[in-house]
Symmetry: C3
Subunit: 501 residues, 3 copies
C-alpha cells in the first residue's frame, strides 16, 4: 500500500464518514496528520469519532449556544482550540508537561491517556462536579482502607493454599485489575518505554503503562487526576445518548452487590423504557420530561439537566451524582447517610475502624451528612418524581423506602450479632483479632452475603420501586432471612460438635 | 407564575403535545379544567396521556368500529362520556359514590384510584374476564391462606430476634407492601384526610390512603373491586403495545420462583423477538400472525386476539389468561391441573390444608379442572402453536412438557420425603405441629428452593421451549438435584451428631 | 372453506407478503403446490419465509455476485434449482434417498428435517467449516464420554430414590432432550409411521421421529449429518441479522456454565451494542467495521467476514468458529489449549480419562493444539481488536486474560485437591473407584460449581473485557473462593464428626 493510496483512502474515509462537507468542518492540521495513519490502522476509532459531536462542532460554536441548551461549561477556550473541531490532537496533545506518558510521536508530544483534567478544558464544571463524586475516589477508597483490603484479599487471594506444587503461576496484580479495579479504576504508572515495529512508520518508541487499559470511574491518571470520562461517555463518540441509557451504568452496577440495572429493568420505569425507548430523544439538552422521554433512566434521576414542558428546570445537571441521594443504600455494612466527603478513607466509626457505621449499626455521624442536608437531597429527588406522580404517591413511596432501610439494617444487625458470637466462641477467626481476616472463612461469607447482596438488593428494589421479585425471591428478603437462618444453623451445629471451652 | 401565564402554558402544552388540532379532539370541560393545573404540576402524566389512544378517540368513535378491530366491548356508553375523549375527568369522576377515596376538589368529586370497575364502563368484557383470572384474587389468595401466611412470615419476619436492643425500628406492614404485595396487590383503605399546601391552589384537603401507591394485579380497590388495569396497561398511555411486550410481564415474573421472562428471552421465540421486534406492529387489533409479528410474546399465547393471514380467528382475546393453560406449573408445592375458581382459599387437600396438592403430591381433585377441561385448554393453546409448527413438532413438544411435569413432581416428592423425615426426627420443627412454621429454618429453605425455584424453573423452561441452561444449570435440574443432595447430606449429618432418641 | 377460496387466499397471501411482483420471483411449481395448503395451515412459517432472502433471490442470482459480497459458496447449483427461489420444495425434497424420514406426500417425496448436508447444496464451504466446529460433535462428545455421562446422570437422574411408591412416572430420555440435548442436539430416529386426519387433505401418513423437535448444534440428522443450521439461522427467515445479534448465542450460552451472553451485555462492547444497535446494519456482506457497526457482537469476533473502511479483509468468515480461539476457557475441568479435533471423545489424559486435562491440571498435550497454532489463533483475534484499540491496549488485555486463565486454573487445583482428600478419606464416593459417580453427592457439587460456574465465569469476564461484577460478585472470584472455603469447611467438620479410621 503506497502512501499516495493511503492519502486517497483517508480522504475517501473522511469524505464518506463526515456528514458535513470539508469546508464546514475545520479540522486542525495536527488532527489531519493523525488521521492520515490512524484512519488506516484504527478505522474503528476514527469512524466512531466521526459519528461524534466532537467531530462536527467547534468549541466556538458550542460556546455560542445560550442558556440550558449549552453543552460546554467553559467561558473561554484557547484560540488555538476554539476554531477547530475536537479531534485527536485537540485532546491527546493537551497539557503535554502534565502527563507522564507524553512522548514524541511523528513530531508531536502525544499522551495516550486523556484525563478529566484534559476534558476540563471545555467542560470545567462537569470535571469539578465529578471531583466531588464519591466515584472519583473509588481507587483510593478501596486501596487505602484496611478493612476493604481484607475483603479484597478474601476475594482475590488464594484460599487454602495447596500443599503441593501448582503448575499454574499468576500475578495477583493483574487479577486485581480485572476484578475490583475494573470498575474502581487502576492506578496508571509509566514503567518505561518500548520500541515497536509499526506497519506504517517502522520502528517507533512508546511508553509502557502499568494498569492499562482501564476505564474505571476512579482511575488514577498519569497527570495525577482521578477518574475516566470514558467510563460513561465511551470513546470516541463520547455520546450523551449512551450516558443516559441504563446499559452504561450496568457495566458496574449489575449486582448482586449493587444491582441497580437488574432492579431498574424489572421496575415499572424500566418496563416503560424497554417498551417505548425507540421513540425517545436521548440527545436533547436540556432533557424535557414527557416530550423527550416518558420514564426516567438512571441518568434522569441522578445526573441529567431536566426541564418540564414549560422549560422550567426540574433538576440541574450533576456529575456529583449524589446531590439527590440522602441515603447510601450500598451497605457498608449498614445503609447510612451519605458521607460528607468523596474521600471515605478519613472516616472512623466509634471503634476506630474506617467504616461509616460500626458493627452494631451506629453511624459515624461526624463524617456523614446531617439531617438538613438529607432533607435537601430528598426534596431535590422528589421534585423529579412529582412530575409524573402525585404527592401522596411520592410520600407513600418514600415512607416505604426509609422503612426498608430500617428493616434491612435491623436484619443485618441480627446477622452480625450471630457472626460476632461465632468469632467470640472461636469457631472462626475475626475481630477483635485485627490480624484475622473477617471475610475469608466459609461462615463469614454467609454473613457477608446477608448485607452485601441481600440487604443491598432489597434496598435497591425499594429505592427504585422495582420491588416484586428483587424485594423477595430474586436476591431479596427470602435470601436475607435464609442467610441469617444458615448462620444460626451453622453456629448451633458447631456449638454441638465443637463445644466452646 | 401568574394564572394568565399558566393558561397560556397549558394552551401551548396541549397544542404541542396533541397531534390533532383542538377542533378534532373534543375534550370535556371538566378534563380541560383538570389539565389547566395538572399540565403544570404533573407534566409527565399529561404528556403520557396525550400520547395515548384515550386522548385521541371518543368512545363513540371507538364503538363505531365493527368486527375484530373493535377495542371497546361496551355496546352503550353514557351520552355524557361517549362524545368526548377519555380524559382525566372521564375516569377520575366516574361513579363518585362507589369510591371511598372520593373527595371534593375544585368543585368536582374526584377519586384518585381508578379501578377495573371504572374501566368496565367501556371495557366490560375485559373486566369480567379478568375477574375470572386467578391474578385478580392474588391478594386474598395470599393473605387468607394460612400456609402462605407462614411462608410470608418466614420471608418478611425477623429471623432469630436479637437479644440486645436494636437501633432500627421498622413496620412490617410497609415491608409487606414492597415485597409480596407489590405484585399481589395491597388492600387500599382510606384512613382519614390531610390538608396540603399546594403550589397552585393553596391549602387543599386530600384523602389519606393506606396501601398506596400500588399497582398489583390483585389490589383491593376503594370501590371493593379487585385488580389494577395499570399493572399491565401502564398509566397514562394504557398502551396495548406495552401489554404485548414481555417487559410488562417481567415486572412480576422474573423469577427464580416464576421465571417466565428469563426463560422467554433465552428461548428461540425470545431470540426472534429480541432480533426482529423493531419491525413488528404491536398496536394492531386483531394481531395478525406472520404479518404483525413472527414469534409470540407472552401476550400472544396467553391474552391477545390473534388472526391468521386470512383474518380467521386463531385465539380469542382473554383477560382470564389461563383459558389455554391446562397445568399450573408454578408448584404449590407440586404442579397440578389449574384450580377451578380464581379464589383458591376454598381449596382443601386430603389432609385439610388449603393447598391444591397434598405433601405426597396427590391432587385436590374436586377443586381443580378435570381432564376434559384440560384437553380443551391444551387444544386451544396448540391451535396457536400450529400456525408456525407442524403437528409432530407440537406433539413432540407437549409430550416432553407433560413428562417434565411428572419428572419435577417426582423429584419434589423425593425432597419432601426427606424433609418429612427431618421433621419426624425432630431435627426441625414442622408438620404435624401446626404451630411450627415449616418454612423458617435453614434446612426448610433447602426444601423450599427445590420446588419453588428449581422445579418451577425446569417446568417453565420446558413449557416455553426455552430449555438449555434454564433446564439445567441456570436454576434448572442441576440445582434441583443439588438441593435434594444437600437435604440428604444435612439429614445424615444431623443423624450422626444428634441421633434421634 | 372450498378449494377455490383456498387458492384465492393463497394468491392473496403470496401477493401481499411478497415485496416483488409474481413475475420477478420465479417460484417452482412444487413450492407453489406446497404453499397452496401450507399458507393456510402454517401461515407463520410461510410469512417468515416470505420475509427471507431465500424467497426473493435465486441461486443463479446469488452466484452472479462477485467478491466478498457473495453469500453462496457453491460454484455450481443444479439447473433445476438455480433458476427458482429457494422455497419449500427446494430444501424439503432434496436428496430424498439420503433421508430416513422421506415419505410420500401429495405426490412428492418429502423429508421434514432439513440438514446441513442439504444446505451444502448452495453453502458447501460453510457446511464444511461447520463440520470442523466442535459444536457439530456436541452430541457425541457428550453421549460417548463416560465422564460426562456420569455428570449428566447426576443432573438428570433421580437423586436418592424414595423408598415409597411415587405417583409420578416419567421418561428420562424425554427429560434429556429438554436438558443437555436441547443445546447439544438429539439423535433423530424414525421409529415408524402414523396416519393423521388432516384438515385440508384427509388422512395422510407421516413418519414418527424420535428426538424431534430439536435444533441443537450437534443434532444427529436422519441423513447421518451433524448439526442444525437453524440453531442460529432460525427457520424460515434464516437471517444473517439474527445470527449476528447476540440473542442467538444466548439461547445456549447464558450461563452460569458458559455465561457469554451475560458477560457480553455487561461489557463495554455490549453497552455500545445495546445503546447504538438500532442504527447498525446487520445484513451487510461483508460487514464493515465502523460503518455497519461500532462494537463487536459475538458474530463479529468469532464468525463473520469483516472488512475495514478500505474494504480490506480483517477476518475471514468462519463457521469453524474456534479459528481465533487459542484457549478453551470452558474448563473441563481446567481451561486448556483448544482440542485438535472436533471429536473430543478420542482424548485421553495421562490417567486414561477422556478429558483434556488431568485432575492435577496437566494438559493432554498430544490431543490439543500446539503453541504455534495458539499463536496463530491469537494473532487472528488480535487483528480484529486492533481496528479499534492500540497495540498496548490489546497486549495489556491479553496479558491479563492469560493471567486469569492461570489464576482460575490454580484455584481449581486447590478445590480439586480438597475434593480428592474428601474422596481419599471416604467422606464421599469417587475416584479412584470408577463405579462411583464423582458428581452426585452434595459435597461434590461444591467442587463442580467451583470450576464449572465460577472459574468459567471469571474467565469469560476476562476474555470479553466484561470484568466488573462477573469477575467478582456475579458468579466470579468471590464465589470461586467461597466454594473452596465451603469445601474446606465441609471437610474439617466431617473429619471431626466422622474421623477417618
Amino acid at each position: 500500500m503506497t502512501i499516495k493510496y493511503l492519502c486517497l483512502s483517508v480522504a475517501l474515509i473522511i469524505c464518506v464518514l463526515t456528514p458535513c462537507s470539508a469546508e464546514e468542518v475545520p479540522i486542525s492540521d495536527a488532527t489531519s496528520e493523525c488521521l492520515e495513519c490512524h484512519a488506516i490502522i484504527h478505522p474503528g476509532i476514527v469512524s466512531d469519532w466521526q459519528k461524534s459531536r466532537h467531530a462536527r462542532i467547534t468549541p466556538k460554536q458550542a460556546m455560542a449556544v445560550e442558556g440550558l441548551a449549552r453543552k460546554v461549561s467553559s467561558q473561554a477556550v484557547a484560540e488555538s482550540l476554539s476554531g477547530v473541531v475536537v479531534g485527536c490532537a485537540e485532546c491527546h496533545l493537551l497539557r503535554p508537561d502534565a502527563h507522564a506518558d507524553s512522548y514524541e510521536h511523528n513530531g508531536y508530544t502525544v499522551h495516550n491517556v486523556v484525563s478529566p483534567d484534559d476534558c476540563a478544558t471545555c467542560h470545567p464544571t462537569e470535571a469539578e462536579q465529578y471531583s466531588r463524586n464519591i466515584m472519583s475516589h473509588a481507587y483510593g477508597n478501596l486501596v487505602n482502607n484496611a478493612v476493604y483490603q481484607q475483603q479484597q484479599e478474601a476475594i482475590l487471594g488464594m484460599a487454602h493454599e495447596p500443599g503441593g506444587k501448582s503448575p499454574f503461576k499468576y500475578q495477583p496484580d493483574l487479577s486485581g485489575a480485572e476484578a475490583c479495579l475494573y470498575c474502581h479504576g487502576t492506578k496508571l504508572n509509566v514503567s518505561g518505554t518500548e520500541v515497536r515495529d509499526t506497519e506504517l512508520a517502522g520502528e517507533l518508541e512508546f511508553p509502557v503503562i502499568e494498569g492499562w487499559p482501564n476505564q474505571g470511574v476512579g482511575r488514577i491518571n498519569l497527570d495525577g487526576s482521578r477518574g475516566s470520562c470514558s467510563a460513561c461517555h465511551t470513546r470516541h463518540q463520547f455520546s450523551i445518548e449512551m450516558a443516559r441509557k441504563p446499559h452504561t451504568c450496568k457495566e458496574c452496577h449489575i449486582g448482586p452487590d449493587v444491582p441497580a440495572f437488574k432492579v431498574y429493568t424489572a421496575s415499572k420505569h424500566g418496563n416503560i423504557f424497554s417498551t417505548h425507548q425507540a421513540g425517545w430523544q436521548f440527545s436533547s439538552v436540556p432533557w424535557t420530561i414527557g416530550k423527550d422521554f416518558t420514564a426516567p433512566t438512571c441518568g434522569a434521576c441522578h445526573v441529567s439537566l431536566l426541564v418540564n414542558a414549560d422549560g422550567d428546570v426540574v433538576a440541574r445537571r450533576s456529575h456529583q451524582m449524589n446531590n439527590r441521594l440522602p441515603w447510601r443504600i450500598f451497605g457498608l455494612i449498614y445503609a447510612h447517610p451519605h458521607p460528607l466527603k468523596p474521600d471515605t478513607t478519613v472516616i472512623r466509626n466509634k471503634d476506630g475502624q474506617p467504616l461509616p457505621t460500626d458493627f452494631e449499626g451506629g453511624y459515624a455521624t461526624e463524617f456523614l451528612i446531617d439531617r438538613a442536608e438529607m432533607d435537601k437531597r430528598r426534596n431535590a429527588m422528589q421534585a423529579i418524581c412529582l412530575n409524573c406522580h402525585g404527592t401522596s404517591w411520592v410520600e407513600g413511596h418514600w415512607e416505604r423506602f426509609e422503612n426498608t432501610i430500617q428493616e434491612t439494617n435491623a436484619k443485618t444487625l441480627v446477622a452480625t450479632r450471630i457472626m460476632t458470637e461465632v468469632w467470640r466462641k472461636g469457631h472462626a477467626a475475626g475481630p477483635p483479632n485485627a490480624a484475622a481476616n473477617p471475610f475469608d472463612e466459609a461462615v463469614e461469607k454467609l454473613w457477608m452475603d446477608s448485607w452485601l447482596f441481600y440487604a443491598n438488593t432489597t434496598r435497591f428494589a425499594s429505592a427504585m420501586a422495582g420491588g416484586g421479585d428483587y424485594g423477595v425471591y430474586a436476591d431479596g428478603r427470602y435470601h436475607l432471612n435464609r442467610r441469617i437462618a444458615e448462620l444460626y444453623d451453622w453456629l448451633q451445629l458447631r456449638n454441638t460438635v465443637n463445644p466452646p471451652q
